[in-house]
């Protein structure tokens, strides 16, 4: 039976790798307690610092085809509660839940004294670790904090060093994705002595504009500001950045668009030791952790993995640079007519959007009438136009299989033409 017990950076122990990310779900003790009761392994407290004033409204979202909140955008800042209250509640939670991880997320002015003070007070309250919020992309960055720090490697290592001067618990640096290449800052964090990395924070965004008022969302008294984007839409970006920072060699807490155990497994396959979620519990509540635990365990049992370490990082060797891919590997599309429903989406996608190698014969035009059994006999079956692939022309791009709504109706089949593997690097050597 799979065991999800997690030991982050060799120090932070918790019953499973699922943590609430720093954000609204980890705002206060009442929430964190209910989350732990629901089964969450840990929580990164809503970022502590000097309490701020928030605006209203704060969130906006992107829906996809009627599905709500494919992406979420926020312009809220760090905690709006006093440090005293937050610390008292952290202490209380830690006392009642000694086996769950409580991480204090921190953000203060860029002075050594300010950082020393908040680190000592957080650890004094019993935090199991610290997460330095160098990622918040709005508001705080205008005040020289958050991503203003995370975008400059020197600042990042300098503040990490200050923190490490006094910290006794593991220090995680939370990275911003709002940067051309995330790796230099990740290396800088390591240089500053970080014990781990958290990635990613939210991505700069304007989610949309009201076509009646011309004001972007969220609307704050007729104006808006760019916010931070997260939720399912950002998962691919997060996964890529997680893969990129693997080279740093620090324990990684993966964040960004995780909604279920499958997403979590993917983050772990790219090396993450723990997984943080914010949008998903905001959307569905703490109860989602039940299936995350159950689903991940069932999958691990099926695959024969006993612990998370058994499969952590397994996919990293499978991410290569393009130049290392085999140019002689060939696949072509195969349409399985017995599964085809005749939507012809593969045809039009290939015709207009790819390589014109799927063909279909249109039905002859006819005068259509409502079939009336009395006048016409039994109602005939709807004719179906099944497309066919020109196998000579097919480049194996996958587009038809991607647009086909029917599972396994279009499969990409390997063509073995006996040519040995050759990459671009080898060819151009």
């Amino acid at each position: 039976m799979a065991d999800l017990t997690t030991l982050f950076a060799n120090k932070i122990r918790c019953p499973n790798p699922f943590w609430l990310a720093s954000g609204p779900p980890a705002n206060c003790a009442d929430q964190v307690i209910r989350a732990f009761d629901a089964g969450w392994g840990g929580a990164v407290w809503k970022t502590l610092g000097v309490p701020i004033t928030n605006v209203s409204s704060r969130y906006s979202s992107v829906d996809l085809n009627g599905q709500r909140m494919m992406g979420l955008n926020n312009i809220e800042l760090i905690t709006d509660r006093t440090l005293e209250v937050n610390l008292r509640e952290i202490e209380e939670v830690k006392k009642r839940y000694p086996d769950n991880a409580v991480i204090a997320s921190l953000m203060v002015d860029s002075t050594r004294e300010a950082w020393h003070e908040i680190v000592e007070r957080s650890e004094g309250a019993g935090a199991d670790g610290l997460e330095l919020n160098f990622g918040c992309p709005h508001g705080m960055s205008e005040r020289g904090m958050g991503s203003a720090v995370g975008q400059v490697p020197q600042y990042c290592s300098m503040i990490t060093e200050w923190v490490k001067e006094v910290a006794k618990t593991p220090v995680l640096v939370k990275l911003t994705p709002n940067i051309t290449d995330i790796r230099p800052v990740a290396h800088a964090a390591k240089q500053g002595g970080a014990d781990g990395l958290s990635a990613i924070n939210t991505i700069n965004s304007i989610t949309g504009i009201d076509l009646d008022t011309f004001v972007p969302r969220p609307n704050v008294d007729g104006k808006s500001a760019h916010g931070g984007y997260c939720g399912p839409a950002v998962k691919p970006i997060a996964l890529h950045m997680i893969q990129q920072i693997a080279e740093v060699g620090l324990p990684v807490s993966g964040i960004g668009g995780v909604s279920n155990w499958r997403d979590a497994a993917e983050f772990i396959l790219l090396g993450c030791q723990s997984i943080q979620l914010c949008t998903a519990p905001m959307h569905w509540g703490f109860r989602i952790v039940e299936d995350m635990i159950d689903g991940l365990k069932n999958w691990m049992d099926e695959k024969g993995f006993r612990t998370i370490d058994d499969f952590r990082g397994l996919s990293l060797p499978n991410v290569k640079e393009w130049k290392n891919l085999n140019l002689n590997y060939k696949i072509i599309a195969k349409i399985h007519p017995e599964k085809c429903i005749g939507c012809d989406l593969c045809y039009i996608a290939c015709e207009d959007g790819a390589h014109q190698c799927i063909h279909v014969d249109p039905l002859p035009p006819r005068l259509t009438v409502t079939p009336i059994p009395k006048l016409d006999g039994p109602i005939p079956a709807t004719p179906i136009k099944i497309p066919r692939v020109d196998e000579e022309e097919c480049v194996g791009c996958n587009l038809c299989a991607l647009v086909c709504p029917v599972e396994n109706c279009i499969t990409m089949e390997r063509v073995d033409h006996g040519i040995p593997s050759e990459s671009w690097e080898q060819r151009s050597a």
């Binding site: 429903i341 005749g342 012809d344 009336i372």
Partner: protein
């Protein structure tokens, strides 16, 4: 029994409208098939994926225009079409073991939007030609609208006080109410169609027109031709339906409907809803021979209509229908055994070109139930529109 009723309450919508967000969700479920079978299956070839995706994108005016370009009676069709043998029946989702897209409800969503936002359709400048449409039912309305789009002057004649034909007087109330049917008539009036009501057009009727469209529908209902078929408790289905739809319902306590087509089913359901305690359908052939659509049959059973197969009516008495040795006590009999074709007029028309609706007298075109033997509203619309294009082509070659 005479009753005062609120038909809107007694006949709630068979399929309630979609809420805006539900419409977007449903529209998003549509796969947006290329050269879609639903469009093929529609006699008016409404570009279904196109209008549905416009609902998904929030372009409701564009969606409505897409529908109305193909079918000017998009509103009534969205409510009355037997979609399970048309667009929805051919939806590819069936092959995928899934619910077909609710095309009818989505069309209604776009139409409801259109009719609540200053409905208007563009017409071309007058071209100096004038066409008469005889009959104000769906076929003529579709013909008239298409002609107006091309700049023809059109006058529609109907013997009834209201236009719409069976859309106004015949379709079951829980599908389409007269005020909705009349919205479409109003749209046409705004397009410049002239209506003349209470005019029984005969070959004596005067008027100078460049062409005529005959959209006169079917003839009167067949009589039973059994003793007693002229008793006061015997009311033919179309009269029974028209009476209740125009606010003067008359229904018995125990009603026997004779026949098993869609009209019989509509009458039986209406009788139940109007308060009849028992409603019987008597049909001389078997269940598998009935011409009503399967969905209509199911609906009638749900309403508690009792079916008697292989039962021929031999006689009607003031308090019963006699079927050989079998007797059904009742106080109202509704024969619904079909409308007779207008055989004489059809003979005058001779061979009609189905693509253009042109009769053997070139100036005369025809379509709808009159010509196709009695199908559905959407078929009448398709006929009317084809005839309008036929008229246009013919008049263009004449001048």
């Amino acid at each position: 029994m005479n009753v005062t009723i609120n038909t809107d309450e007694l006949f709630p919508d068979l399929h309630p409208a979609l809420a805006p967000q539900a419409a977007v969700v449903e529209a998003s479920r549509c796969l947006f098939c290329y050269d879609a079978p639903c469009t093929q299956a529609c006699p008016t070839h409404i570009d279904v994926p196109k209008f549905i995706k416009k609902i998904a994108s929030g372009n409701l005016r564009g969606s409505a225009n897409t529908i109305l370009d193909a079918n000017i009676l998009g509103l009534s069709c969205s409510r009355v079409c037997p979609v399970d043998v048309l667009c929805e029946g051919s939806c590819v989702m069936h092959r995928y073991n899934k619910q077909p897209i609710e095309i009818g409800l989505l069309q209604r969503h776009a139409m409801d939007w259109f009719y609540s936002h200053e409905p208007a359709i563009a017409t071309a400048p007058d071209n100096g030609k004038h066409v008469a449409c005889i009959g104000g039912g769906p076929a003529s309305l579709a013909c008239a609208a298409e002609l107006r789009r091309h700049g023809f002057a059109v006058t529609v004649f109907d013997r009834n006080p209201l236009a719409g034909g069976l859309n106004t007087y015949g379709i079951a109330q829980y599908k389409l109410r007269p005020p909705d049917s009349l919205k479409e008539v109003e749209l046409l009036r705004n397009m410049g169609v002239e209506f003349r009501f209470g005019v029984e057009v005969t070959d004596q009727t005067e008027g100078e027109f460049d062409a005529f469209f005959l959209g006169v529908g079917l003839g009167p209902m067949h009589r039973l031709n059994v003793p007693g078929d002229d008793l006061p408790g015997v009311v033919d289905a179309l009269t029974f339906i028209a009476d209740y739809k125009t606010g003067t319902p008359k229904v018995g306590r125990r009603v026997v409907v004779i026949g098993a087509g869609n009209t019989a089913i509509d009458s039986a359901i209406a009788a139940r809803k109007l308060g009849a305690e028992q409603v019987h359908i008597v049909y001389r052939r078997g269940e598998s021979d009935m011409s009503a659509f399967a969905s209509e049959y199911e609906h009638a059973k749900l309403e508690g209509v009792e079916f008697h197969w292989q039962t021929s009516v031999t006689r009607i008495t003031p308090d019963a229908v006699i079927c050989g040795t079998f007797k059904i006590p009742c106080d109202m009999v509704v024969p619904a055994i079909g409308q007779s074709p207008l055989t004489k007029l059809l003979a005058v028309c001779g061979e009609v070109n189905r693509e253009t609706g042109q009769t053997k007298h070139p100036k005369y075109f025809a379509g709808g139930d009159f010509l196709n033997g009695g199908r559905e509203v959407v078929d009448a619309v398709a006929d009317g529109k084809r005839a309008a294009l036929g008229i246009k082509k013919w008049l263009t070659t004449q001048s």
